[in-house]
Structures are given as C-alpha cells and as structure tokens.
Amino acid sequence: MNREEAQRLADRIRLLRADLKVLETEGVLVLTAEQRASFDAWADSTTTQLAAKFDVDTSDSQRHLSWGLKIVSTLGGLAFCAALMLFFARYWGYFDTWVQVEVVSALPLVGLGLTEFAARRERTLYFAGLMALVSIAAFVLDLSTLGRVFNMIPTEGALLAWGVFSLLLAYRYGLRLPLAAGLGLLLAWAPAAISTRMGRRWLDFGDQPELWALGGLVVFAAPLVVPHRRNGDFPFVYRVMGVLAFLVPVLILSTSGYLSYLPGQDSVIERCYEVLGLASAAGAMALGIRKGWTETVNLGAAFFALFLFLRLHHWWWDWMPHYLFFTIIGVIAVGFVLVFLKLRAKAHEVAA
C-alpha cells in the first residue's frame, strides 16, 4: 500500500463513520452495541495504524492544514531558490574562476544530500519537497554559471540534464512538483533537439507547436505503458502535462497556421487544427468520463469551450452585433448544460 491508497482508505473510514451516524439518526440502520463497539475498534485501530505508518490526514481540519502545508512549503522552496540565485550573483564576482566552478558544481550535490536527510527524518516530505526544489534550482544555477564563466554558447542539452535530474528526484521521493518540472523541461528539450538537427535555432522550440503536441501525446500515454504501482498520484501529473502540451499547441496552430510544418495555405491549416482541437477536447472529455480522470474531463471541457468560442468568433464577430454574439454564446452554454444533465440522468439510470 502507498501513501495515496492509505489516504483514500482513511477517507473512506471517516466518511463511513459519518454515514453510519446519519443512518442511525434516521433509523435506517441501527447497529447493536456489540457491532458498534467492534466497528469503532476496527476504525480506530486502522486509522491509528495508517496515521502512524503513512502520516495520513484523519479529519477535515487535518486535510485543510495539509493543503496549507503543501502551499507554504512550495512557496518557501521557491523563495529559497530565488535567494540562492541572487546571493550567488551578488558575491561570485569576487572569487577566482576555479572557486566559482567548485562552489556551483558542489551546490546540487549538497542540495541532494540535504533532501535525502530531510526525507529520512520527516515522513510527510514537506521539507524534502522544499529541498528538492532548491536542489533543482542549484543545478540550474550550476550549469548557467559554468556557461557564463566559460562564455559557452547555450545549447538544449541543459534542458535534458535538468529534466532528467528533476525526474530522478521526483521518483526518489514521490514528489509531484519536481515531476511536473521534469516533464516540462523534457517537453521543451525534445522540440529543441529536433530543431537543432534540422539546422534551425534551438531557442525557437516554442515556435514548433507540432513537436510539442507530439511530446504531449507521449507524456499522456506514458502512464498507460508504464504502470505506477508505487507512485499512484503520478499518472495525474502525466495526464495534466500531456493534455496541456497537446491542446495548447493545437490552439496556437488554430490561429497561427504559419508555424505548422504542413504545406498549404495558413488559413486552411488553421481551420484543420480548429477541427482537430474540438475533436481532441471532446475526446479528452469522453476518455476522462470513461476512466474516471476528473482532471482530463475538466481540461477537455475548458479547451472545448475555448475552441468553440474561437470558431464562433471567426464566423460572427465581424458582422454580428456584439451583444447578440454573447447572447448566442450564453444560449449555447445553456444548451450544453441541458444535454449534460440528460446524459448524467441517463448514467444514473444505468448505474441503478
């Protein structure tokens, strides 16, 4: 059992307790004293074991505090990253080249050591998460400084190094933020590397939306190919990064066809990507509903609305009175609400 599964079990026990209370009050299900005592003993013992082994939240107030801790530790990590970079920038110029090189080369290893130390001392990994962010920042500072000291021409290789390092930290400690950072860096590296091989400027990786979209598909599909038994919360990150990395480039191509590798007129390419965007967003919603992936449904719905708005904007904005345009948008939204309500009722009948 991993921490995520333990938390889900703790949540189910808490909800079951609350439901039993309601059922007792309404006289639907009343346990005997013996049954109640047996259930309470089991629930208390299981919850205590889960809290002791996985440090899960066993009440609503604990859950809210945990969210607060995650936000604060992330902000704290980012603040330490900024402090590290600015502190180094302020004083590095007073040292010889080889002192500069030794200090920056050692920093990520020191960060890694502190992350490991924090992870062994504290099970909730809030401090380890903070130190992992600082370690990644230290590695970025390391390569940036080496590049600056020796006046190296920047290449895309640094993105690969930072991405791999972030992923290794993520998998070592089960941290989602370094995972997202690592996936983002690798998603940037792939189009940059392909651009370089094609003789183009690697910094134009942002202008290669089709390569980003391909990378997005790979990232989305990765957890389907590689099961994550230990880090059960990682597929969520892969799906979010994958959907964004696919649909944002498609959105860009639907308005800037000149960025496409496809031959043909820009306007034709833009219309094709608009249709692809609508179809993919709808597909993401359908897949998310089928698999129970809430984040995929939500992102799919948001992009579907965006693509639809863009299409209607192209058709009507120039000639239709703008108040009428937004009225029709509202009516379409109401129509979708009615359709989804009907689908929801149908799903409820099927389940019953």
Partner: protein, 221 residues
C-alpha cells in the same frame, strides 16, 4: 523509501554533466585561439550593478541603415533560404517566416569609415560553414566570425541620402543570438571595474574552436 539507485543516478547526472561542461571548456581552448581581435570600449561595454558582482562585457555592433542590404541575395540563398516563395507577400513581416531562423556564421569587421560614435563593428559576410569564412578571412585581425541565427526579411529600399524609401522592396538578412555577453574573470575583472566612463581602452578577445571567447588582455590608452 525506494532503493538508492535513483539517488546515485541523480548524483551521477550532476557529476557527469559538470565533467562534460568542463571538458567542453578545455577543448574550446585546446590548440590555442582560432581568432584574436582587439576591440575598444565602443564595441565592448560594461554596466555595473549592485545585484551582480560578476564582470560581463557586452559586445555592441553597428546597426547600419544603409541603402543596400549588407549581404547579397545569392549569399542568403546559399544559407539555405528560398527567396522566391514569399517575395510578393503583402505583409513584409510575414515573408519567409515559415522557413524559420537558421544557424549560420556571420563575419563582423571593424569599419574604418563608420560613425564617430558608437561601435565600429559591422556585419559583412555570412556562411553556413565557419571553415569557409575562416579560410576566406585568414590573417585578418580586424574581423571576428560569430555563430548566429539568421532569417531573411523584406524591407523597403532606402534612398541614397537614407531619409526616405524608393518604393522598391529588397531582401535583407537579420541575425540574432549573437554571443554578445563575455564574462571577464579575475584578475582582469579588477581592471575593467577600474574603468571609468569615457576612458579609452583596448580589450583583446580570443576565440576557441567552438567560437567561445575569453578575455586575454585589457589595456588603457
């Protein structure tokens, strides 16, 4: 906690990448400089900030607004661009955009007929291969060849006096990503810090096989 393999792998990535970076720096300087050029305070400027104690020189070049483009269309075609496809594009900024920016090498020379103020370094030639430029301009110490990104663009041809346009469109070549920031290590950095505004100086830059420079001398006139 998972096995320590990922921990050692993370440490290994840091050690290996640092080693590769240092090896690259050593290889750049191995065999001596490929180019040497001496520039003045007009071509290399330095700005002091309290938040950054490092000394970084900034390479400046002449942004000429000549009548003619600084490079011919044949040379632009030799860089791999198709100049026939977008010549009639209504919006000149959209022309050639699909072809994207490409890597190339541009030769910058110190002009003797430049303006009295500002940098005298101006682009004068470009090629896909550095070797051809190095061979063509071998022995010249008033010239430096740098790796850049280039892209053609359409602009209006200027009149001879430079004040107006002729109505004709010409193809010119824009370049970017010029490696223009040059770190100065100790002890030369102390000399640069001592440089007061308006004081004339000469700074000698040497470039290695990867076109990555280092400062070899700073002299005040």
């Amino acid at each position: 906690m998972k096995s320590r393999m990922t921990l050692w792998a993370a440490a290994g990535v840091v050690v290996m990448v640092n080693a590769l970076a240092l090896l690259h720096a050593v290889r750049n300087r191995a065999g001596g400089p490929v180019q040497t050029v001496t520039l003045s305070e007009r071509e290399l400027s330095w700005y002091n900030t309290s938040e950054d104690s490092g000394v970084t020189l900034r390479l400046n070049w002449l942004h000429a607004h000549d009548q003619k483009p600084w490079i011919g269309e044949d040379s632009i075609r030799a860089l791999g661009f198709n100049l026939d496809s977008d010549r009639n594009e209504a919006n000149p900024w959209r022309a050639f955009r699909r072809q994207g920016r490409r890597r190339a090498y541009v030769a910058f020379e110190l002009r003797r007929d430049g303006p009295r103020e500002g940098s005298q370094l101006a682009p004068m030639d470009a090629s896909r291969e550095a070797a051809s430029l190095l061979s063509k301009y071998r022995g010249r110490h008033d010239l430096v060849i740098l790796p850049v990104s280039v892209m053609p663009y359409l602009r209006e041809e200027r009149t001879e006096d430079g004040r107006g346009g002729t109505g004709r469109r010409v193809v010119d070549l824009q370049f970017m990503d010029v490696p223009s920031e040059i770190h100065v290590p100790l002890p030369l950095a102390e000399q640069v810090r001592a440089m007061k505004p308006g004081r004339e100086c000469e700074i000698t830059l040497q470039y290695g096989r990867f076109f990555e420079p280092w400062v070899s001398a700073v002299r005040f006139r």
